[in-house]
């Protein structure tokens, strides 16, 4: 036993002795402190193991910290930029980037080269390619043959992560010149991808971020596609780093879950719809997402995937379920909600060391504070995303109207659900239909958040009145042609969950000794917490282990079905396929999970991204 092993031994012995003697802290306090270096009690009376109550460095917005005033409804809601394929959809027009061996003629896109950050990442962390051979990192599902290896991309995209100036609101002291932000293609949020099942796509993401950050953030990224059925190497795993000066090639096969089971491109009843992509760099996710590295992606059904012509979400309001869309997606609108805090000088504020989470007193939609949106007198489909980092909403409409909710976490429900209000925590998506033909031109309707939340811990559970106004719809008399969209009585059927469960696991999310832990342990990159055979089904119990924190738990890859929440069955709005569990204080959720098709590592983590960055994550593997 060496000297420090002896010391540990002595510490533990002392601890046992204290326990055996039934000594309390009060006794120790009377006796004085233990000096573990000498093994003796120090004759220091009156000293306590306890410190005085200290306030956290988590300012409460609107109480400890005020952003400068900004006038609401002075800025029009920007539409998310529609992402376009590379010129001619020609993969050879993709920029080969900077470093490493250039892919010359004969080295097509999809062949990993030195410019691809996966190489550097595997050099720095050899365990990554020890666990997953280069050949598989170079895309499991592309050019590999077999049922799952042959989904060559049909659409090619390129995107750049950059620093640029962004105007959150022109009333801020920075005015129209804005202040530095990080984002994809120099916009916050990043562009909207419109993708389709049966049309695999490819995205080369260049990392052009500078070494000098915004006071927070890191110029190393990993872009997670939340929650596509993607092979592990294209999932945007926290461990797969896209270094500045490199690019990272993502391949999305755009297959429904169940390729191995159903053949073809899988089971269309497993379709996703509204997804988002965001940075997922280990330890830095909250900082980088707050910097602006997030955007949306929606995916439509493969043409004619359902034999029934009245089924399907095709991005065409004359076909299938005829959900609102219009030409050029005019009426299929992404709304990204994100709260921010500015200091009294209007400079971006991020609570760098607040472990509870980060909330702000300014509500932005698509990158603008309290914007307005002119709407035409017809139906719209809104894809609402809570980008976080830590705020949870309870949405109402100012005129008391209801929402027609058609999808939760992007997945269409079996039937629309009409509700007066609904809760939305971090990373959740809700698709709603709003019909403005019910109102005369000039009508103003405000989207209001009434959830009270004073810190990153989560909402208090109280409803505030009248609530915080976030987005104003202004009904116009502008022409729109004919509204051919419908609110169908039925939507996508839920796939059965009859496959027998091969194993049950439970996962407890808890704060422990100042750390955020899962099953008592902080995240460790060298640990795989579960190895799950491909094709199996499991029952997972997700437990909030106490304290008053909400943990929005996100499980990558295939979405789950919640069986019970606090041993109760679920309201219809929560009864579909989901990828985020809004795990309120002391709650327990039982879920049914399947692990089909691709193999590799995927994480489960708290999507209060501050908790995630402080180790509330586990990695599991499909084998």
């Amino acid at each position: 036993m060496n000297s420090h092993e002896k010391l540990i031994q002595r510490t533990m012995d002392l601890q046992r002795e204290i326990t055996r003697e039934g000594l309390t802290r009060r006794d120790l306090l009377k006796m004085g402190m233990l000096s573990l270096s000498s093994g003796l009690l120090l004759p220091i009376p009156g000293l306590s193991l306890r410190a005085a109550r200290a306030d956290a460095i988590c300012p409460e917005p609107g109480k400890d910290l005020f952003s400068p005033p900004t006038r609401p409804w002075t800025v029009e809601l920007p539409r998310l930029v529609e992402k376009q394929v590379v010129p001619g959809n020609d993969p050879s027009s993709c920029d080969v980037g900077y470093g490493g061996a250039l892919p010359g003629p004969g080295v097509p896109v999809g062949t990993m080269t030195g410019g691809d950050s996966k190489f550097r990442c595997c050099e720095e962390f050899p365990e990554l390619h020890n666990a997953t051979p280069y050949a598989e990192l170079d895309h499991q599902a592309w050019g590999k043959g077999g049922r799952l290896g042959n989904f060559a991309p049909q659409k090619f995209y390129e995107m750049r992560a950059k620093q640029f100036n962004h105007v959150w609101h022109p009333d801020l002291p920075a005015g129209n010149s804005g202040q530095p932000a990080w984002g994809f293609d120099s916009v916050v949020p990043g562009p909207m991808f419109r993708t389709r099942y049966g049309e695999p796509h490819f995205v080369r993401i260049h990392n052009d971020l500078p070494a000098q950050n915004l006071g927070f953030g890191i110029n190393q990224i990993s872009t997670h596609m939340h929650n596509l059925h993607s092979p592990s190497e294209s999932d945007g795993n926290p461990l797969f780093v896209n270094y500045s000066g490199h690019y990272y090639d993502y391949h999305y096969p755009n297959v429904y879950a169940g390729v191995n089971q159903y053949g073809g491109i899988g089971n269309p009843n497993e379709a996703l719809g509204t997804l988002w992509y965001h940075d997922h760099k280990l330890d830095f996710t909250s900082q980088n997402v707050y910097a602006g590295l997030a955007g949306m992606n929606c995916i439509y059904d493969a043409h004619g995937i359902y034999a029934d012509p009245n089924m399907g979400d095709y991005g065409d309001e004359t076909k299938g379920w005829r959900l609102p869309c219009g030409d050029n997606y005019e009426f299929d609108v992404g709304l990204v909600f994100h709260d921010r805090q500015f200091d009294p000088n209007g400079v971006d504020f991020f609570p760098l060391t607040c472990l509870d989470g980060a909330i702000g007193d300014k509500m932005t939609v698509n990158g603008k504070i309290q914007p307005f949106m002119p709407v035409k007198r017809r139906k719209y489909r809104f894809r609402m995303l809570n980008m976080g980092p830590s705020r949870s909403y309870d949405w109402f409409l100012s005129n008391g109207a209801s929402f027609v909710v058609i999808a939760n976490d992007g997945n269409l429900l079996p039937a629309p659900v009409v509700v007066k209000n609904f809760k939305q925590t971090v990373a959740e998506r809700f698709d709603v239909i709003m019909d403005f033909s019910l109102y005369p031109a000039g009508t103003q309707i405000v989207l209001v958040n009434r959830a009270e939340q004073k810190s990153g811990r989560g909402p208090t559970g109280n409803l505030i009145s009248p609530g915080f106004q976030v987005l104003k719809f202004v009904v116009t008399s502008d022409a729109f042609g004919v509204d051919e969209s419908r609110i169908p009585a039925k939507l996508r059927p839920l796939p059965d969950i009859k496959q027998p469960i091969s194993r049950s696991r439970s996962w407890e999310f808890k704060r422990n000794g100042g750390e955020w832990t899962v099953n008592g342990l902080p995240y460790n990159r060298n640990v795989i917490s579960a190895e799950i055979p491909e094709g199996s089904a499991e029952r997972w119990t997700i437990i909030n282990g106490g304290g008053s924190w909400q943990h929005p738990v996100h499980i990558h890859y295939e979405e789950h079905r919640m069986l019970t929440y606090n041993r109760r069955t679920l309201p219809p709005i929560e009864g579909g396929r989901k990828d985020v569990i809004r795990l309120d204080a002391n709650a327990t959720a039982e879920i049914y999970m399947r692990f089909r098709d691709f193999k590799g590592i995927y994480p489960m983590h708290c999507h209060n991204v501050v908790h995630e960055d402080h180790a509330m994550m586990v990695m599991w593997k499909i084998v």
């Binding site: 060496n2 000297s3 420090h4 002896k6 010391l7 540990i8 510490t11 533990m12 601890q15 402190m33 233990l34 000096s35 573990l36 270096s37 000498s38 120090l42 004759p43 220091i44 000293l47 193991l49 306890r50 410190a51 005085a52 109550r53 200290a54 306030d55 956290a56 460095i57 988590c58 720095e124 070494a211 000098q212 006071g215 927070f216 953030g217 890191i218 190393q220 330890d283 830095f284 609570p351 760098l352 060391t353 607040c354 472990l355 811990r457 704060r511 000794g513 100042g514 750390e515 342990l521 902080p522 995240y523 460790n524 990159r525 060298n526 640990v527 304290g547 960055d613 402080h614 180790a615």
Partner: protein, 198 residues
């Protein structure tokens, strides 16, 4: 040990040499994290007897890892953490003290005097590049709060052993700050330094 030496450290401390780095000539301003109050420039006394200013002498322009601990930690948490960081120190090899520095700051400075820390460091056979630090209670409380190692439950917050699980790591020059659990594996902790260099 004389009780007085534990109290009023600033008053009773012997006149020691002050080999802190002189950064008077540094041209770069303090990092934004320092200006925002996350890295308060509190005076500290190291187990080596040297006196430092936390930000100017120990953090500024450096790549560092720092954690909080106390010698009389419950459940052996702190010695285990120290042993873990000692293993990380070995993994970092020659980088320690050259471009990576460790600081372990006592949450119980009134007990963990310089002499206690010196014994503690010797017990762990701590190598250069790692300082154990004590100071004024109020200063160290400020530093702990500034790092967010605070429990919202006042009762749990009083238990100092609840604040020893995470270590802050970062590079002040690049203004990159993350956190890692000291209960993780040594290799896992050491790997965080791979993303602090460029």
């Amino acid at each position: 040990m004389d009780r007085r030496s534990f109290l009023g450290l600033g008053l009773a401390a012997p006149a020691l040499s002050v080999p802190g780095r002189s950064l008077a000539a540094t041209e770069r301003p303090r990092s934004r994290a320092a200006q925002a109050g996350y890295l308060p420039n509190i005076p500290l006394l190291a187990h080596t007897g040297e006196r430092f200013r936390f930000y100017d002498d120990l953090i500024r322009e450096r790549t560092v890892l720092f954690n909080f601990f106390l010698v009389s930690c419950s459940e052996g948490r702190c010695p285990l953490a120290t042993a873990k960081l000692r293993a990380v120190q070995d993994l970092l090899g020659e980088r320690m003290g050259r471009d990576v520095f460790f600081y372990s700051i006592s949450l119980q400075p009134e007990v963990d005097t310089r002499q206690v820390l010196k014994e503690y460091a010797e017990a762990f056979d701590v190598k250069p590049g790692w300082l154990f630090l004590t100071g004024k209670k109020a200063d160290i409380e400020l530093l702990r709060r500034s790092q967010g190692f605070v429990d919202n439950d006042p009762e749990r917050d009083k238990d100092l052993s609840n604040h020893v699980g995470m270590a802050r790591y970062g590079n002040d020059r690049l203004e990159r700050w993350g956190a890692v659990s000291v209960n993780s594996e040594a290799e896992n902790i050491a790997s965080t330094f791979k993303w602090l260099t460029s």
